[in-house]
Amino acid sequence: MVVSVRSWVANEGGKHLVLVLWLGANTWLFLRTFLLYSTGQQYYYLYKMLGLGLCISRASAAVLNLNCSVVLLPMCRSLLTYVRGTHTVSSRKTRRLLDKSKTFHVACGVAICIFSVVHVSAHLVNVVNFSVSYSDDFPALNVARYRGEVRHTLPGVTGVLLVLILFLMFTASSYCIRVSNYEIFWYTHNLFIVFYIILMVHMVGGALKYQTNIEAHPPGCLRANQSSPEQQGEELEQSEDEERRCREEAHFQPHCPQTWLWVSGPLCLYCAERFYRYIRSSDPVTIVTVIRHPCNVIELRMLKRDFKARPGQYIVLNCPGVSSFENHPFTLTTCPTENKETFGIHLRVVGDWTERFTELLLPEQGIASEILPMVQQRRYPKLYVDGPFGSPSEEVFNYEVSLCVAGGIGVTPFACVLHALLNGWVGFRLRRLYFVWVCRELKSFYWFAELLCALHHKLWQENRPDYLNLRLYVSQTDKLQSMSEEKYRPLSSRLLVGRPRWKLLFDEIGKTNKHNRVGVFCCGPKSISRTLHRLCNSARYSGTTFEFNKESFS
């Protein structure tokens, strides 16, 4: 498939620009520090003793400083949500960059690991050189106390601890572990605070020293005084040369630790953010209703004081009755409005936490109790909600034409969008919404069948039938399926059996929206999002640009 330059730039340009800038900053910092240590006058004697290991270790340390400070910034989720919400501050291009904040965090993390390996290897060489090239001329420069000693130093011990913590954090962050045992990932990643504290004391002790009196003692002049007897004649002539004469011994001073300059700002910001989130979520929510839907989905309606959210945002639930420390994200399916203060989520029961949570919400009803409903005081478990946090789906209203593709339970962000349209579709920039929902089973459509039909009827009543273009696909083709209820006629007549043909869909949207910018929002399995991403970058459509926005749940 031919890639169109304009589409590629619209979809990938911003990300790649940030990547190039970040790589450039790292490279520049590495080279600058390398050259400083290899050619700088104040490091002349140190460089003679340690060689290349000095330059590589200090250059990688500078890169590590940069990445350790920048890695925290994408994780300040409340701050990013605020930046996303203020439309005056940022353009849509900047907001789309915020979608990739987790990817940037991972990139910085990988850079930290790689450069830690380089840094440790270079310092191993330094340790050997400190002991082998023990300098008798400049005893102050040495770290070892005598030739051949390998000495324990504070930087050495803290360095080993740092690598161990990094090792634990890194091994628990792979995709496999996050998907299967999220708790291991979460608890080890929270060791970052120990990592940063040790990092800030890593340089205390000053193993590497620089020369302070370069004018009085130009580097290399000591050798001029200690030259061989044959050159004594020339020496006497040169001894008057002002520049080559050493007036005093070389003085050395260790560096003051610089890491805290880099790291303290983002660390304080992140700690403030965590504190703010803790305070905000300490107010427990009231559970108003719990509804059971087909295909293992539970709808939960809640109420919380001063809770405001925009369509497309997600919240994080914590239920101490299930697990004290686990937090799980769920997209909001109903946002609080002026008329109705409740907000709701749909959660699919898959995994330990959701199963246990459902058991607490809906105790198993025996057959007898269905015949004789017992009136009992419903005791719902205590629930804490953190959020709301921003997501790419908030941008649906900011395009003139949007295509929303949902796979299964991935419909939840778009359900909130549809609710917002039901409350009032006038006043948004959005003029047409293509809504494609692919499910494995027919019963899944009943989660939002009423919402879809209500919106469809409202738009027909208000004479905008072309606003919502609805297509439902059932991907399991073995059983003959249809929705038989009369009230769901608009859905059953738009129901197609089999997987959607994306190219045809894109062709159709391209032809009817020429020279427009269409926002494509995908929330579903990886195969669908990959196909859509590829189609958005390809060159088939008559002047239409498709901008791809993906929402991911992991």
Binding site: V117, V120, S121, L124, V125, V127, V128, V150, V160, V163, L164, F167, L168, F170, T171, A172, S174, Y175, C176, I177, V179, S180, N181, E183, I184, V322, S323, E326, G351, D352, W353, R356, D478
Partner: protein, 187 residues
């Protein structure tokens, strides 16, 4: 809460420790440090640990994600039978392998990391976990054909008697007949 599979984390850690041991050993050998024999041992032990730990085991519940190209490693590791299946064996093996690394500065990090992963493997073994190979599943048999095909109709469709069906050259129009039962295409 819930059942945590410690073996999966221990596997990631052991693989990473193998790489760290290998890197430390290479630095030690290349720099000809004092005690470089331990570094050479580190290289060998690192390679061995990486080969042993590369194939991921099967999860007890849920889908298992393979590492790229791990099938041949899976076959090799599986052939050792209970030695590789049991996590107690792995825990003690890693503990034994990591000890010589502690004698040299370049490999001490690899030693500590391998020691940690050996402890986690011990925890996994105490929880009763086992290494099971991820083998490709046999091709799913095609969906069985619908039952109706197996029982073709026993009787021919209803037709009028033979003398009416015989084409009469002189009376072509009379030879045509209306099928008594409507025949429509199945949807």
């Amino acid at each position: 809460m819930g059942k945590i599979e410690w073996a999966m984390w221990a596997n990631e850690q052991a693989l990473a420790s193998g790489l760290i041991l290998l890197t430390g050993g290479i630095v030690g050998v290349a720099g000809q440090f004092r005690g470089w024999q331990f570094a050479a041992y580190g290289v060998a032990a690192g390679v061995f640990v990486c080969l042993l730990e590369y194939p991921r085991g099967k999860r007890s519940k849920g889908t298992s994600v393979e590492r790229t190209g791990q099938y041949c490693f899976t076959v090799c590791v599986k052939s050792f039978g209970p030695l590789t299946r049991n996590y107690y064996v792995r825990a003690f093996l890693h503990a034994a392998l990591c000890v010589p690394g502690g004698f040299m500065l370049a490999t001490v990090l690899g030693c500590v990391c391998l020691g940690i992963s050996s402890l986690i493997y011990l925890g996994a073994a105490i929880h009763g976990e086992q290494w099971m190979p991820i083998l490709p599943q046999k091709e799913q048999t095609r969906k069985p054909v619908g039952e109706s095909i197996k029982n073709p109709p026993q009787n021919p469709p209803p037709r009028p008697p033979a003398e009416l069906r015989r084409k009469r050259v002189e009376d072509l129009e009379g030879a045509a007949y209306v099928n008594p039962i409507a025949v429509t295409a199945n949807d």
